[in-house]
Amino acid sequence: MENLVYIALFAPLVGSLFAALFAMTPKNLITAFVTSGLLFVSWVASSSLLMYVMDHGTISVNMMEWIAAGNLTIDFGFQVDAITAVMMVVVTTVSTVVHVYSIGYMEHDKGFNRFFSYLSAFVFSMMILVMSDNFAGLFIGWEGVGVCSWLLIGFWYHKADVSTDVNPSISPSWAANEAFIVNRIADLAMLIGIFLIYWNVGSLNYDVFFAAIPSLENSLLVSIGIALFIGAMGKSAQFPLHTWLADAMEGPTPVSALIHAATMVTAGVYLVVRANPLYAEIPNVSLFIAYLGTFVAIFAASMALVNRDLKRIIAYSTLSQLGYMFAAAGLGAYWVALFHLAAHAFFKALLFLGAGNVMHAMHDELDIFKMGGLKKAMRGTYLYMGLASLALAGIFPLAGFFSKDTILEVAFNEHTYIIWFVLWITAGLTAFYSFRQVFLTFDGDERYKKETDAHPHEVQNFVLVAMAPLAILAIIFGFFMNPFKEFATTILPAYEMSEHTHHIAWILIIVTTLIAVSGIVLAYKKYANGLVRDEKMENSFIYKLLQNQYYIPKFYMEFIAKPYKEISDILWNKVDMKVVDATVDGIAKIIYFTGDKSRKMQTGNLSDYLNWMGVGAMLLIVITALSMSLS
């Protein structure tokens, strides 16, 4: 079993290093085949591990002693339990599909080999993140996925900056830097949390820490919980650190599918789920997480309602679904959060890959107002995206129905009716914006003929085949809810609905389905028969507010980035140039000046040298005399 752990972990690394060898050379299909093949190997290993863990329980592997400095010992250890096994299978499944998909998507890209190297490196980091048995390893993986995310968002770094009116994310390199910097802020908090743990517990191992929780003070637990959650907020793009996720859509679409929908952004949820013994002890923080998640759910959904950018809509929906997961985790239903995480990974990756197909067909046009009627040309993609949207909207019997309904039931069961209500509304919004997007893209009049000069065509067949596993999982995954629950609750606390909730569960299901269906119907009425633009509504305050993302990016720009730049300018011009540099230059000038002056001592005349020696001797003797008289 130990070997399987290593294979699952290191196969992506080997693939990445192999592809990196070809990074500077023109496109070479072998890199794609090797990385995809190794990922498939990793997937096989992960699946076998999942089976094994189901039967035999947790596997712990200690690879080596990693850091041993004084009292600090951190082992490079891995632990595969139910949570990890689920995450591993989700990650390897989605990433294998995305790798194969990328062979088609990146076909004409100059950085083909480089792309696969980055992508596999990301998978490796993600595997470390989920497999580590201590916070240090988790943090390494955490930073690793951050770096890979930065590399991949900025993959087309050569694109020039444009103004925010043309493109809200300015340029890929700008978006990459934004993502990285925002994550840095959150990572600082997370590091503080990790330090607090080490300081008070003396070990970073999960098991040791969790065992020590009952003996720790409540205030300390609260600070650790908050610090770790801020880290999770950054990675999972929760308010107010959410702006980077939408801008991260500048990266290639497979990257958005893999990193910014299915895996990396769920790392925050993973962290909260992983640290469930901690959050179970601090109900106030947990409740805050739940409320924040709920707020983000509706907040992001509202922004998705009016956006015209195909990928950004999906990004906001990701944000919204992450909110659902946090709501579930905050309410104590950890296995539900994990279940929604897995289900969401499948249908959201599918949705993104479908969007990638559309983008490809439309020559990188992303404005859904300029599309329409694409279903004639792209039947397969239409099917996939429709399916994924149905799953996202939570329509029976797709995966989203089960996971989202369970979250709503949990909210109802906890008597947090506000959360339930908001999430319920969000479910309707989700259905509406998903199908607004689908209908605007695939139905109605063929606006692209006027607006663009694209000739849409379906993608290669193998790409569609590669997406099939995700589609199948999006359909059937929901039926595995009960086995999943049994499996996950071997590690996670079992969450049971009360009798009362059980009785009215069917009402809740009907109510939720109703609002989802009505959202779809509304979208159908409004958009399926072509785009009718409502100038009055588009100029209304709320529409503008939503379209400008509540002016939050602008707010950050005006009140954080610009003052920061001004302070930096002042520091640079005044402090650095006039104080620090001037001091350093001054020292150099003094040395140069004295050197230039004392050069004249070198007359070459021995007598002058003797005189100088006499001066030196006098000084020495005087100093000796003084020191003697003083001592």
């Binding site: 007598s607 005189n611 006499g614 001066v615 001797a617 006098m618 003797i621 005087v622 000796t624 005399a625 003697m628 008289s629």
Partner: protein
């Protein structure tokens, strides 16, 4: 008696050395230097270092001064030395400061009154005996090294001074050629 001798010798030495340092004539300078050396050996006798006094006389007054005298034969010693002396302000300031500091330092009570002698002067033995005992037991190796050093210095002195004897400084005479080659062989 001792005091009289000390002060007399001191005044004389200082005066003679001042002549040495300030005189423009090499011969005067050398003569006064030799006289000063003799007086310094007088200090050694006063201090009971008989052997050292004798060595001082033999080496300095005898060998070194003789060496200088022979060296003089190569230079024109009758003429006054014409040189551009360094400004005397600087010189006297520096030397004066050092002298002043040293005088102040040494006028103060000397520290380390209770130093235990590592090679105490033996009672009953005369100074040369005592010196011989210490020199050939404790300081044997430095003594031998000094001997080797003197040998090396002698050889180098001969080679340096003996080089190009054919280029006579006063008279360029071609006839001495054979003599010189012969003498050079000798040296080698």
């Amino acid at each position: 008696m001792e005091q009289i001798a000390f002060y007399l010798f001191s005044v004389l030495t200082i005066g003679l050395f001042l002549v040495t340092v300030l005189s423009n004539n090499v011969l005067y300078a050398m003569t006064s230097l030799a006289a000063g050396m003799v007086l310094i050996s007088g200090f050694f006798f006063l201090l009971g270092a008989d052997f050292l006094g004798v060595v001082q006389l033999v080496v300095y007054v005898g060998a070194v001064m003789a060496l200088y005298s022979f060296g003089m034969m190569f230079f024109d010693a009758t003429k006054d030395i014409k040189e551009k002396n360094t400004s005397s302000y600087l010189v006297f300031f520096l030397s004066g400061m050092i002298a002043l500091t040293l005088v102040i330092m040494f006028s103060a009570p000397i520290m380390g009154e209770n130093i235990i002698a590592s090679y105490p002067i033996m009672a009953g033995a005369t100074n040369p005996q005592a010196v011989g005992l210490v020199l050939f037991t404790k300081y044997l190796v430095p003594f031998e090294v000094a001997a080797v050093m003197l040998l090396v210095a002698m050889i180098s002195g001969i080679i340096l001074a003996g080089k190009k004897m054919d280029d006579s400084l006063t008279t360029k005479d071609e006839n001495h050629e054979e003599d010189d080659t012969f003498s050079r062989k000798d040296i080698k």
